[in-house]
């Protein structure tokens, strides 16, 4: 397998837990779990927590005994911190190749083809630099295809003797086959749970079974994507780098509330805040929207109470992007769907049918350049820039209230890198 294509997958080790450790070094070597929004489920674990048998996605209340007994450190998710650390790590990784695909908050592919370096020492230097500059440990998997690079990353993580960098193309054929035998087919990059089920049904369980299967059978069963993954195991690169993220089609902003909400004003308070977040995203991407969906749910797990799922979508003839236009609309939709007497536990909105700003206006709508429109637009921009400088200080009146809806985050660390008021104190 000595093809000319060469990819690396750089993956942060236990990213959320590692971020927490950078600013709390005494957590080194201690078991850590990070909880989802509203402190519901386990979404990240340090190696020590994994060793205790705490499962990914487990509801927090179910593992609470285990957590208390083993002094596991519990953290609410701190996305401002993780997001900032991620962008630092990704920037550094990007210095090591002209082509980078940021694949998730903690993973990035880079294209190593034709780089005039010793790839192993180039990747070791990447790993060292990310660790020295940010404190985040990463592992690097190298291979002639993206699927192989991802597989190589598992090995780099699992066996310390490779010093965090592993090139799967260097494996002799028999060892490569052995490795494939030890990896379940569902753990291959791109093989989802449904595909794994289908494969299991025809007797394909390990990646080696998959590798040995006839490509025609795979294509019939999983379509062209399955065929690509199959080909990639043979070292034929079929999945190209996607360095430009696709334009967003919709923006979803939703939360489980800190406690069940019955009152319209309380719901409206939550929805106004969520809308403002969604509109900020819309504006940051310079997009505008023509459909708005608002939804509120009661808790389907509470069997003793009546269960409803209320939602409504409206469409508009011309695209809008200002919060002064969108927030009142969301309130109106909420008023239409709201029913008293229920306890709502989750709600949110979807801005859909997104398009780049300033598309053609409806003939009958107010002219984009009419003085009142311009004033509205300027007002929204001003509010936005004030809020980005002064920590969300301008709010909508409908957003103010008892804050009962705010999700629980009982174990949250400081936003050390994004808020002047929450700096690390030494």
């Amino acid at each position: 397998m000595n093809n000319k294509t060469k990819f690396a997958l750089v993956d942060c080790n236990n990213f959320y837990a590692s971020c927490e450790r950078v600013f709390e070094p005494k957590l080194e070597r201690k078991p850590i779990v990070v909880l989802s929004n509203n402190d519901g489920c386990i979404i990240a674990r340090s190696n020590e927590a994994k060793a205790l048998g705490i499962k990914m996605g487990a509801p927090f209340f179910k593992v609470k005994d285990l957590v208390v007994k083993n002094n596991v450190v519990v953290k609410s998710s701190n996305y401002p911190l993780y997001g900032d650390m991620s962008s630092r790590v990704m920037k550094i990784i990007g210095e090591y190749s002209p082509v980078q695909e940021v694949y998730s908050i903690d993973e990035s592919f880079i294209d190593l083809e034709k780089l005039p370096f010793n790839l192993m020492s180039h990747m070791q230097s990447l790993r060292q630099r990310v660790k020295n500059w940010t404190g985040i440990p990463v592992c690097v998997g190298v291979g002639s295809t993206k699927v192989l690079a991802k597989l190589a990353n598992r090995i780099a993580k699992k066996y310390p003797r490779f010093d965090g960098v592993f090139d799967i193309d260097e494996l002799p054929y028999e060892r490569y086959c052995k490795l494939l035998q030890s990896v379940e087919v569902g753990d291959l990059w791109g093989v989802g749970r449904q595909s794994a089920k289908k494969l299991n049904r025809i007797g394909v369980h390990t990646s080696y079974d998959f590798y040995q299967s006839d490509v025609g059978v795979i294509e019939t069963l999983l379509g062209v994507n399955g065929k690509r993954i199959h080909q990639e195991l043979y070292g034929n690169s079929c999945i190209p780098m996607e360095s430009i993220p696709p334009t967003r089609k919709q923006i979803v902003s939703s939360r489980s509330f800190g406690c069940d909400l019955k009152d319209f004003d309380e719901l409206n308070q939550a929805l106004t805040n969520l809308t403002r977040k969604a509109v900020n995203k819309l504006n940051n991407h310079k997009l505008s929207t023509t459909t708005i969906t608002v939804f509120i749910y009661t808790n389907p797990h509470k069997k003793d109470k009546p269960c409803v799922h209320l939602s409504k979508t409206i469409g508009m003839t011309s695209a809008i992007q200002d919060q002064s236009q969108i927030i009142p609309l969301v309130s109106q939709i909420l008023r239409l769907i709201y029913k008293p007497g229920y306890s709502f536990y989750k709600g949110g909105l979807v801005l859909g049918n997104l398009a780049k700003n300033y598309q053609q206006q409806d003939l009958f709508s107010m002219n984009q350049n009419s003085p009142s429109q311009i004033i509205e637009h300027k007002k929204s921009n001003t509010i936005r820039s004030v809020n980005s400088k002064f920590n969300e200080s301008i709010k909508y009146a409908s957003e103010l209230g008892n804050n009962k809806w705010l999700p629980r985050a009982d174990f949250k660390s400081n936003r050390y890198t994004t808020s002047w008021g929450e700096l690390l104190i030494i």
Binding site: P25, K26, E28, R88, V89, K91, I92, R129, N132, W133, T134, G135, I244, Y416, T417, W420, L423, L424, I425, I426
Partner: protein, 193 residues
């Protein structure tokens, strides 16, 4: 109105003749499967020789922003402002104080153990994690899991973290102590209230 003119194809509608990628008429044929792999390359080669008359230019999706200095003086008929020839970049504290953006963190100082080095309670320290801590530098150190800011002294293999205040003892790092240099302090920001 002549009804015979209604219906049917409009003249000139549809794809123009010979406007496909081959620039000539094409024909659908049946090919034995065993020959597909032989014939396809021939077509590919032919295709690559037919020159496209349209060149696709991709716009840069991430244009960088270029800030252009604004001419402050009004353009007047007569004498131009003598300052316009001397336009320079504005001063940006970030570029002055921060050299490795991804490795730079701000922390807040507590206590007065480093008062002699000009670090006062509540000051903001600019910390660069990418720098190697040489002897004599002010560092953010982690000793047994706890943060401290001190001046690093290395001499003949002995490492000492020195306070800059006679009221504080130096921290000698022994064989069992775990010392991690978290970062090097490059500047201190002291704001007068």
């Amino acid at each position: 109105m002549n009804t015979a003119n209604h219906g049917g194809a409009r003249k000139g509608a549809g794809r123009k003749k010979n406007s496909g990628r081959f620039k000539e008429e094409t024909k659908v044929i049946r090919v034995p499967v065993s020959l597909v792999n032989t014939i396809n390359p021939v077509i590919e080669i032919y295709k690559s020789q037919v020159k496209s008359d349209v060149e696709v230019l991709l716009a840069n999706d991430n244009p960088t922003e270029l800030s252009i200095p604004i001419f402050t003086s009004r353009v007047q008929a007569g004498f131009p402002s003598p300052a316009d020839d001397h336009l320079e970049d504005t001063l940006d504290l970030n570029t002055h104080l921060i050299h490795h953006k991804e490795a730079t963190f701000f922390v807040k100082a507590q206590g007065d153990s480093m008062i002699g080095a000009g670090i006062q309670q509540g000051d903001i320290l600019i910390v660069d994690k990418s720098l190697t801590a040489k002897s004599g530098k002010i560092v953010i150190a982690v000793v047994d899991g706890e943060f401290t800011v001190k001046r690093l002294h290395k001499y003949k293999g002995n490492i000492t973290l020195k306070a800059e205040n006679p009221d504080f003892k130096d921290i000698k790092i022994g064989g069992d102590d775990e010392l991690i240099i978290w970062g090097v302090v490059t500047s201190v920001i002291h704001q007068y209230e």
